[in-house]
């Protein structure tokens, strides 16, 4: 779950990271409560907001009103602005970058910092790689004192200042099951370090143990009319493509392989639908529904090579769909793996053929899709 800046800052504040005073503004009358000078910032989930004109410094209430009118309801990279964050201005001496993430393939959290903040970190990596530094934080150990001192040295700031921000950032990460916490820029001001922006992404897989937090944040997002947060237990990945062969698989790897084989056979897939490794007849049923809703589909291939998945259950899902809704296009089912004898029996009794060889199945479905289009 991606958070708006104002939500991220709320979590930062709770974790002890200093943030500017501010209030959310969604209606013009709320501007009266804002002290000027102030910074008005569009609350959107897409990046590059500053460059796109989504941040305006306003010296007077009149400037504030003008900025409010030009920003609210406008859109940034296709995302409509439904709320603004009005914040006190800060006297910025220097700007830093600080984030903690979980990189793919890692076994620790990764802290990244840069003595140059305010710009995109990819840009820093290009133009001033020496300004960048990174530290691994072991999830069992947490932030160590030497790491705090190291960050203080790189930022040339007080150790206690660095400690407040770094331990706060780690707390915000841990206590909210975040997969990303980022401050850019982290500003050095006469009052000490101040987080001027907040980017936070929470782990949807941890929703069950943070249900109150997730609900609160989802309500806030709904209240400002932002993007609806979908709560989904659906394991299906459905990616529409531009061909004619509907592809359903019970494994991502075989799904991608089949996509390649379809392409090698001179056809194109109309979609990529992967059901996940352990699934039920209901998921098979809804995968068929999703695929058949795609009107470009001229024939379907279902690639099943069950390990955790049970072929009897997959067959049950297909047969139930055939009985209840009918199959408007030809279907080619490759079925092997766990409980396959039972699965094939169920298919046979419903007069549905199964294949054992993937290549044969792919050639058959490509031929059928060609004939049907």
């Amino acid at each position: 779950m991606k958070l708006y800046e104002f939500q991220g800052k709320e979590l930062f504040r709770e974790a002890g990271i200093p943030v500017p005073r501010g209030r959310l503004v969604t209606r013009e009358e709320e501007l009266g409560l804002v002290e000027f000078p102030a910074v008005l910032k569009a609350q959107v989930l897409v990046g590059g907001r500053g460059k796109a004109g989504g941040i305006k410094v306003c010296k007077t209430p009149e400037e504030g009103k003008k900025a409010f009118e030009s920003l609210l309801g406008a859109s940034i990279k296709g995302e409509k602005i439904c709320a603004l964050l009005a914040e006190e201005t800060a006297d910025i001496k220097r700007e830093f970058y600080l984030s903690i993430t979980i990189p793919s393939g890692s076994k620790s959290f990764l802290l990244m910092g840069s003595a140059t903040g305010g710009v995109e970190i990819e840009q820093v990596a290009q133009s001033a790689p020496e300004a960048l530094f990174s530290l691994l934080i072991d999830p069992i150990v947490g932030v160590m004192d030497y790491q705090v001192r190291y960050v203080a040295k790189r930022f040339a700031c007080e150790v206690e200042e660095a400690r407040k921000v770094l331990t706060g950032l780690y707390r915000a990460l841990r206590e909210n099951d975040a997969t990303l916490v980022e401050i850019n820029p982290l500003a050095e001001t006469p009052r000490g370090l101040l987080a001027l922006d907040a980017k936070v992404v929470l782990d949807d897989k941890a929703r069950w143990r943070r249900s109150e937090l997730f609900e609160r944040l989802a309500e806030q997002q709904a209240a400002i009319g932002g993007q609806a947060v979908s709560v989904s237990t659906d394991t299906i990945t459905y990616v529409p493509l531009d061909g004619t062969v509907g592809l359903i698989s019970d494994g991502a790897g075989t799904g991608m392989l089949t996509l390649d084989l379809i392409s090698d056979a001179g056809a194109r897939a109309a979609c990529f639908c992967e059901m996940g490794g352990l699934t039920s007849p209901e998921v098979m049923y809804s995968a068929l529904e999703k695929t058949l809703n795609n009107k470009n589909v001229k024939a379907i291939i279902v690639v099943l090579i069950g390990g955790f998945n049970r072929m009897d259950e997959m067959a049950e899902g297909i047969v139930r769909y055939q009985k209840e809704k009918g199959l408007p296009v030809p279907i080619v089912v490759r079925m092997c793996g766990t409980m396959e004898e039972e699965g094939k029996r169920i298919m046979r009794e419903a007069n549905l053929k199964t294949y054992d060889d993937l290549y044969e199945a792919v050639h058959e479905v490509v031929a059928l899709a060609g004939r049907n289009s």
Partner: protein
């Protein structure tokens, strides 16, 4: 010889009384895997598929020698259950479940590393050493004894390729499915290293997919350390950019993580590249002079 498991591996099943745990225990037993005990808190004293169930791993260890554990415990209890196994000195742990919160996964992997436990997974289909031991979901009929070591992120792809090899008369020493990521214990690089060290493995078959950089890391290791022939098959050649295809990591972003970048890296490292499982089987036959 085989890597990580062998004929004498005594297996503990965590979460043995659940639906998946029970079914897979039966399939493993039918295959000849020595499943000697199971753990489900609160179900101690029962039997599951003829296997005694205990409340705690420590209770199991009073009665049995355990070499490896496979877990079917739901994501919410995965951390607790894994820590219990690690605390009790279990040296090889297969985590089959997906959807474990990232923080829990990191803690499990870090703790395991500190205590010397090898973790396969999470989200792993597991490992099979044909004819010897099956610790996971690999459908038995698709595998046969032999000398090709296979490593894959995807379980299904490892079954598919196992089936193709078996039908072509090519047996496997061990087949490992690591999980769809993006966080893993054992990686492709680790598996390649194990195969290089395994006297029974003659050819290494690396199955990769679009997204991430683990294939490139394996390629680096192959270039520097591997003397055995390596065949590589990368799936997702026809995948579109910017769409995640089922696995969390299977996404092409710009020119990063494309099939081509992986193929180039592996090819430079000396691997022979196959575009389909059948071609992989053909190349292995050529390598063996068949």
């Amino acid at each position: 010889m085989a890597v990580l498991v062998n004929r004498d591996t005594n297996v503990l099943v965590l979460g043995i009384t659940g639906r998946s745990g029970r079914l897979q225990t039966k399939v493993m037993l039918d295959y000849g895997t020595k499943v000697v005990a199971g753990v489900t808190p609160g179900k101690g004293g029962q039997m599951a598929e003829g296997v005694p169930v205990y409340d705690f791993v420590s209770e199991v260890l009073k009665e049995h020698r355990i070499d490896a554990a496979i877990s079917f415990v739901p994501a919410r209890s995965a951390k607790d259950s894994s820590f219990e196994a690690i605390d009790n000195g279990i040296k090889f742990l297969v985590l089959t479940m997906e959807e474990i919160p990232d923080h829990d996964v990191l803690e499990i992997l870090s703790y395991a590393k500190a205590k010397g436990t090898t973790v396969l997974g999470p989200g792993a289909a597991g490992i099979i050493s044909p004819g010897k031991c099956k610790l996971g979901a690999h459908p038995p009929r698709m595998f046969t004894e032999g000398n090709v070591g296979v490593v894959s992120k995807s379980g299904a792809l490892s079954y598919e390729v196992g089936k193709t090899l078996t039908e072509a008369g090519i047996g496997q020493s061990t087949v490992i499915a690591l999980g769809g990521g993006p966080l893993w214990g054992l990686t492709q690089r680790d598996a390649v290293r194990l195969f290089q060290e395994d006297p029974e493995t003659e050819v290494i078959l690396l199955l990769g997919e679009i997204g991430g950089t683990t294939e490139e890391e394996a390629a680096e290791f192959i270039a520097q350390n591997v003397t055995k022939p390596v065949v590589a098959l990368i799936v997702g050649r026809a995948a579109p950019e910017g769409k995640s295809l089922g696995h969390a990591g299977a996404i092409i972003q710009g020119n990063r993580g494309t099939a081509q970048s992986k193929i180039t890296a592996l090819s430079r490292a000396g691997a022979k590249i196959a575009t389909t499982p059948k071609e992989a089987a053909q190349i292995i036959k050529e390598i063996r002079g068949e």
